[in-house]
């Protein structure tokens, strides 16, 4: 088993920020524009607010069962059978998210960077590295995140700032003219986007100062929401609603327009290679959650045995969709599934935090 209680709240902050701003930010502007038009930013804010409430419950319930992950304490609350199904539901979600993240990244690489390199190769190399760091444990993942996150955040800010001269605020109008139903749909889909925070349920027992986590995670969420909103606004202000909706990778297009004087242009290759570290962090954390989740579900002693199997599974899963369109279809499923997860989880959490007295009386 991995040693528990070795991750600092600061590391969790970076992990959460990276997860929330991670891979999906590349598709998010397009997706939101299709659903909610110019008012995507509102949708994001609303989704962020709901997620904050959810986060509050996650923190509360996790602290009721100190030293236990959701997969371990769910059976205590819901009974063995139901609890395990619930656990499996979550773990499948993590696995699925990891696979989709991988594939989105690979797809983007293929379209922007390495058009002739087979996807399998690109993904295999990445998965080997992920397997390596997952074997080394969560502590290493956390350190890696901590090392690179400041650079990545700086990069994100630079991308936005670099495009300032292309932006026109007029493209952000009209404000809040979208029908409420569409807005609601948007909120729900953004909720599933921020729903990644439920990884916190798996990471909780590894944190050395759980009491600080409520603030930390809320700040991380706030950070991430600001970044996503900024990116959404930046993209729409640069390209306008219709153009953004038609682009496959609006953020990449944003980068493509930038240049550093006469020295370098078409920076998307550079950007993507750095973006790789975000993808890497995302996939590592998600696969760690998936693998340790499966381990606890199957009650195995050592999670390392499962790594190879899960990594193989991830490779197969991420190679499954035929092309970008199939992937985006899959992404929609992700939204639905994510929606269910984000709806079921808060519900479950609320029930527990209201009626269950916690670890000591039950276990």
């Amino acid at each position: 088993m991995i040693k528990r209680g070795t991750i600092s709240p600061r590391q969790i902050f970076f992990i959460l920020t990276m997860l929330l701003t991670g891979i999906y930010i590349l598709i998010l502007p397009r997706h939101l524009v299709l659903v909610a038009g110019v008012d995507g930013w509102f949708v994001l804010l609303a989704g962020g607010l709901v997620s904050a409430i959810m986060l509050f419950f996650i923190n509360r319930v996790s602290r009721k069962f100190p030293g236990k992950t959701v997969v371990e304490f769910a059976p205590l609350v819901l009974g063995s059978f139901l609890g395990r199904i619930f656990g499996a539901f979550l773990v499948i979600y993590y696995t699925f998210l990891a696979a989709v993240s991988l594939r989105i990244f690979a797809e983007m690489l293929k379209s922007a960077l390495l058009p002739d390199t087979p996807r399998g190769l690109v993904l295999t190399v990445l998965i080997v590295l992920v397997a390596w760091i997952v074997q080394n444990g969560l502590e290493d993942i956390a350190r890696f995140t901590e090392l690179l996150s400041p650079l990545i955040l700086l990069l994100l800010v630079l991308v936005l700032l670099g495009n300032l001269n292309h932006m026109d605020l007029i493209r952000l109008r009209p404000v809040l003219q979208t029908p409420p139903l569409d807005l609601l749909e948007g909120v729900i889909s953004s909720l599933s986007y921020f729903g990644v925070i439920i990884v916190l349920l798996m990471l909780y027992p590894y944190v050395n100062a759980p009491k600080k986590l409520t603030t930390t995670s809320l700040v991380a969420l706030f950070f991430a929401v600001s970044i996503t909103v900024a990116f959404f606004l930046g993209t729409v202000a640069t390209f306008g609603v219709y153009e953004t909706g038609r682009m496959a990778w609006p953020v990449i297009e944003l980068v493509k327009m930038e240049r550093i004087g006469e020295l370098l242009e078409r920076l998307e290759a550079f950007f993507l290679s750095l973006w790789l570290s975000i993808a890497f962090i995302n996939v590592s954390v998600l696969s760690f959650c998936a693998i340790s989740g499966w381990t606890q579900l199957l009650k195995l002693k050592n999670y390392r045995k499962l790594t190879l199997i899960i990594m193989g599974l991830l490779l197969v899963l991420s190679l499954w969709p035929k092309d970008l369109l199939a992937l985006l279809g899959l992404y929609k499923i992700n939204f639905i599934y994510g929606f269910v997860v984000t709806l079921v989880v808060p519900l479950f959490i609320m029930v527990v935090s209201l009626f269950h007295k916690g670890e000591k009386t039950n276990a």
Binding site: L113, L126, W132, F144, L148, L264, E265, S277
Partner: protein, 525 residues
């Protein structure tokens, strides 16, 4: 506080019980002579003490390891000539002769009474002189160490512009004296032990009591205890290999230095130093990677300059590892990144070069490594000739023969120069090695490959530990307060909270070292 681990003596002959000294001196001499048969450097000097009823005595020493003047003037002369004038000794009972000699006659400062033959032998083998007296079952070991040693000179491998010009030598005592001269404090502890079945090498462990984390000292002692059985310790490198955490990693996890000022600075930071007799290099544990990019000079020269120099070194490291790979990746995969005019000029220069960029870079880098290795092995003046022949003539000819493009020569030269900016030779080796896999990745997967390569390097570095301390500290478990000695070199008066400065009051040890790495996981279950 520090629990002292008893230092085990592992003399090869004391397996069962130490041999006692016989009261018959001839028997003792016979025994030692038979053990040291065919050892022409062992000198036995027999003489008589007193003149009424003279007592036979013998000196044993190793020729060349002793200070002859001391033996002549302070032992032989005292015992044979001056002893007669001091007091009539005929009335003395025989067993008191050794007491008399010990307390009143010998004029050597350092002496020790031993009670068995093994101590006698290890005593004179380490350069002291053994004095045996007939009729006594005790012997004296007299401190007469004095052998030819290299003078104190500036170490070639760690040159600074500003700073002391002293470097350690091959003699342990001289080295510890250089440290003691800089730290006049009772807190400086120098524990010593012998390691090596045959070499019986003196190994000293130095630390500042009260500053050091006692866990580290304990860990060092534990690891040194484990290697008691080895045959030989010839250099600190041998010890390093036995006690390091990850022997298969290309990264050095223990730093070594020849500079006393650097060593003292690390001692005051709360680190443990291991010194080995016979080597000017001293090991510093625990070591973090960033140490290799810091030079003692950084702390002596002006703040702004040191900060800029540090960044230059970071740049040097980055280019030493990545530059050729980046060049390959950009020219092969991502030509669109280069502005048109530059692209045209590169393409124009590459016109007629028959190889792909990867082959070009690879051969150039290999020949660079060849040159480097060749020039290390050659004596000084010839080495620089080789540099000129290799770099100028061969490089020029290769470009003119259209075997490589001139840009490639620039790139390769930059990587070499970059790797020279690393102050530590040991740390520049892994950087040189990683260049090759990165070049392959860059040739296969472009920039994506280069980034993957860097991720792999970072994964490896993050997983490393040096005596329980994370290797990328304070970057990877981020310690913001310590970054002021990493990203910049902040003024000394601001670094009072950095680990190299003790807190002003004499508090218990834990507060000095603000790092709790060794205890890490203490909160785990």
């Amino acid at each position: 506080m520090v629990k002292k681990i008893p230092i085990k003596k592992n003399n090869p002959t004391d397996e069962n019980k130490a041999k006692p000294i016989s009261t018959d001196i001839n028997k003792n001499l016979e025994e030692i002579k038979s053990i040291f048969s065919n050892c022409s450097d062992i000198v036995f000097r027999e003489f008589l003490i007193g003149y009424k009823s003279p007592v036979k005595a013998a000196l044993i020493y190793v020729d060349g390891l002793i200070d002859k003047a001391a033996v002549h003037d302070h032992i032989l002369k005292s015992l044979t000539l001056e002893a007669r004038s001091s007091a009539p000794n005929a009335e003395l009972p025989e067993e008191d002769i050794i007491k008399w000699v010990n307390e009143a006659t010998i004029t050597v400062a350092e002496k020790k009474q031993v009670e068995n033959l093994d101590d006698v032998m290890s005593g004179f083998l380490s350069g002291d002189t053994a004095l045996l007296i007939d009729g006594s079952d005790k012997a004296l070991i007299l401190g007469t160490k004095g052998w030819a040693s290299r003078g104190i000179a500036e170490p070639d491998s760690e040159v600074v512009v500003r700073g002391p010009r002293e470097g350690f030598t091959e003699t342990l005592r001289i080295n510890t004296s250089m440290v003691r001269r800089r730290i006049h404090s009772d807190k400086l502890k120098i524990e010593s032990r012998k390691i090596g079945k045959y070499t019986q090498t003196d190994v000293a462990v130095l630390y500042m009591d009260g500053i050091v984390n006692p866990q580290i000292v304990k860990e060092v002692q534990k690891r040194l205890d484990r290697i008691n059985e080895v045959d030989s310790i010839l250099e600190t490198g041998c010890i390093e290999q036995y006690i390091e955490d990850h022997p298969y990693s290309p990264f050095p996890q223990i730093q070594y230095t020849e500079r006393p000022d650097k060593l003292v600075a690390y001692l005051l930071e709360g680190r443990v130093i291991i010194m080995v007799d016979g080597s000017p290099n001293c090991l510093i544990v625990p070591t973090v990677f960033i140490q290799f990019l810091q030079s003692p000079e950084d702390y002596y020269s002006r703040i702004l300059m040191s900060t800029v120099l540090r960044w230059i070194r970071f740049l040097g490291v980055f280019s030493a590892v990545t530059l050729p790979a980046l060049y390959i990746a950009v020219t092969t995969f991502h030509q669109e990144m280069i502005p048109t005019r530059l692209a045209l000029s590169i393409a124009g220069a590459r016109e007629g070069v028959p190889f792909p960029a990867f082959v070009e870079a690879f051969t150039m880098e290999v020949s660079l490594e060849l040159l480097r290795e060749a020039s290390v092995r050659l004596p000084g003046p010839i080495g620089s000739t080789l540099g000129i022949v290799g770099a100028l003539i061969v490089g020029q000819a290769a470009v003119e023969a259209k075997l490589v493009a001139p840009q490639m020569v620039i790139v390769v030269a930059m990587t070499a120069i970059g790797s020279f900016t690393v102050p530590s030779f040991a740390a520049s080796i892994p950087l040189r090695l990683f260049r090759f896999p990165l070049m392959i990745l860059g040739a296969v997967l472009g920039l994506y490959g280069v980034a993957l390569g860097w991720i792999a390097i970072l994964i490896h570095m993050i997983s490393l530990k040096s005596f329980g301390y994370p290797y990328l500290e304070p970057l990877a478990p981020l310690r913001v307060s310590e970054l002021k000695d990493v990203l910049i070199r902040s003024p000394r008066w601001q670094m009072t909270t950095a680990p190299q400065f003790r807190s002003p009051s004499e508090k218990p040890p834990k507060t000095y070292l603000r790092r709790s790495y060794i205890n890490k996981g203490g909160g785990g279950k």
